[in-house]
């Protein structure tokens, strides 16, 4: 994209607007064409990864088969406090800003879900698949994450307290511990 922008700059910089010198057009065409070539290489690399991923055997899930399939749904800013969503399939779901206070998500699949700024206080996320999920700036105070898979999940700016239970006892990098005088009780 930088190379394409450079091509446009070559064409337009110090230009009497409707009369670019002939050489500038050719130069811009070449620069943008080379940018396209690099993009083509990246696109083909992505295609290779996709083909390789499709040939891998499916992961063995710890979670049982889901009872409710909500993969890819848009639940941004949804109000779902205390809802029972155990054993649900929420892979790739959009849950940014959602109120999931005390929600039950035990043994659910939330791989690559967007949970930025979500309220997950006292939520039950035990044994859930949270690989690749985005928990940035989420509220994880008193959340139960024991047994959950957190590989490649992001926690920058997420807050937790002493009542939060992490899978291996150690909080992930980027998360922020809040010391409260009296935190929410479980």
């Amino acid at each position: 994209m930088t190379i394409i922008a450079a091509g446009f700059i070559v064409l337009l910089v110090s230009l009497p607007f409707n009369h670019p010198p002939a050489i500038r057009k050719v130069a811009a065409a070449i620069v943008i064409g080379l940018g396209g070539a690099l993009l083509a290489v990246q696109v083909l690399r992505d295609m290779t990864k996709e083909v390789e991923a499709s040939r891998k055997p499916p992961d063995e899930h710890m979670q049982p088969e889901p009872v409710l399939v909500l993969a890819g749904v848009d639940l941004r800013d949804a109000a779902l406090p205390g809802v029972e969503l155990g054993r649900s399939e929420l892979t790739d779901a959009l849950l940014a800003g959602a109120d999931l206070n005390a929600t039950t998500l035990q043994a659910s699949r939330l791989a690559r879900a967007d949970l930025r700024d979500a309220d997950l206080r006292r939520a039950d996320l035990r044994l859930s698949d949270l690989r690749g999920s985005d928990f940035r700036r989420a509220d994880l105070r008193a959340t139960d994450l024991r047994g959950a898979l957190l590989t490649d999940a992001r926690f920058e700016g997420a807050i937790y307290n002493k009542a939060t239970n992490w899978p291996e006892g150690t909080p992930p990098p980027g998360s922020i511990r809040i010391e409260e005088a009296s935190g929410p009780e479980r």
Binding site: K25, L44, V69
Partner: protein, 376 residues
């Protein structure tokens, strides 16, 4: 009765849209003619006020047709992308940028002094096609990558055949491509989410209908999950606001399309043609054809570039001028050739030998025809 009213309102809507479209093209034609007259130093208001409605619509339609075709083709392609499953018909920002880069590179190369450099974007397109065919994740995935690149390349060649203002065409094509192709990935994701929400609501409904809930049953609409899913599907604005937004978006799109169309006409070659008009009194006039109205033909003597030359040579500089000839005095109008600078307004001294096809009637005799007859 309500069916007839419904049908009548739809017909009225279509007629209104067509009238609006004709008006839009009319305004475009007048704007283009204004710019052309301004470029050659001619008065602008009089020819435009005298020009026939059909002629202005023809000027506007000729200019906007290719851009409308471009938008239509790209719109169909974008619709195909948006309606696909994002997992199978993968079209992200990288794929969009690749299509845009190939198209813009081709447009610029074809409009430059070295059009052979179009080989570079053609090679990129060919390499993408061959590489995708070699990987072959699926037919949809390959088509989603290759088709926009090939369509973009084809449209670049089509645009280069217009012989317009190269820079305006490149900018216009870039803008339209970018607008459609950069929006397509996010629209595709949005549509997929809407379908996922709908499928989830249907699933919950089926579960609730088949489960025994006991003495207390929650209404489906009261289920917080269903409410949240429905909110994720539904528009959050009232229908009036939605319609206002759609109309505003449409007006902005028409405005931008009009600006691109007009810009592509600036400094075009072949703006005005030469004309030879033979009159009922036997005289012939040559000049630059401007427009034809219902009651008069407008000829001109544009001379901007010629003025500059004659000023340098110290000769007398005739003013650019326009003349109108009532159509009732006109026997024949011949418009021909291409003229970027125009030709002088003058009586054709060799009217008798001019290539008129129609001759004035001889007094007391029949009208003669052919180039060999003597004029009167």
């Amino acid at each position: 009765m309500s069916g007839a009213v419904d049908l009548a309102s739809k017909v009225l809507a279509v007629l209104t849209a067509l009238l609006g479209l004709a008006g839009y093209v009319f305004v475009l034609g007048a704007t283009i003619l204004w710019i052309r007259l301004d470029e050659v130093g001619l008065p602008r208001e009089m020819p435009i006020s005298l020009a026939g409605r059909q002629e202005l619509i023809a000027i506007g339609a000729q200019a906007v047709a290719v851009w409308l075709l471009l938008v239509a083709v790209l719109g169909v392609l974008a619709a195909w992308i948006v309606t696909g499953d994002p997992e199978r018909r993968r079209f992200g920002l990288r794929e969009a940028a690749l299509a845009i880069a190939v198209t813009v590179s081709a447009v610029l190369a074809l409009n430059s002094s070295a059009p052979e450099f179009v080989a570079l974007p053609c090679l990129v397109a060919l390499g993408t096609a061959i590489g995708s065919w070699g990987k072959w994740p699926s037919s949809e995935a390959v088509t989603a990558v290759v088709l926009p690149v090939v369509v973009g390349l084809g449209l670049a060649f089509a645009l280069s055949s217009i012989h317009g203002n190269g820079l305006a065409e490149a900018a216009g094509a870039t803008f339209i491509f970018a607008a459609l192709f950069l929006l397509a990935p996010s629209l595709q994701q949005w549509r997929a989410r809407q379908e996922a929400n709908g499928a989830a609501i249907a699933q919950i409904k089926v579960r609730k209908e088949t489960r025994e809930m006991g003495p207390k049953k929650d209404a489906l609409d009261e289920d917080p999950l269903v409410k949240a899913l429905a909110q994720g599907r539904a528009e959050s604005y009232s229908s009036t606001v939605l319609w206002i937004r759609r109309i505003a978006l449409g007006l902005v799109a028409l405005l931008i399309l009009g600006a691109i169309t007009v810009a592509s006409q600036v400094e075009r070659d072949e703006n005005f043609h030469q004309a030879l008009i033979s009159l009922t009194n036997g005289d012939c006039i040559v000049g630059t054809f401007v427009v034809r109205g219902s009651e008069q033909v407008v000829l001109a003597q544009p001379s901007l570039a010629r003025e500059e030359r004659e000023e340098e040579e110290g000769k007398e500089v005739p003013q650019p001028r326009i003349t109108t000839i009532p159509t009732k005095e006109v026997l024949e109008v011949q418009v021909y050739g291409k003229s970027s600078e125009g030709t002088d307004l003058a009586l054709d001294a060799n009217c008798a030998n001019s290539p008129n096809l129609v001759r004035p009637k001889k007094e007391g005799g029949e009208a003669s025809s052919g180039t060999g007859a003597s004029g009167g």
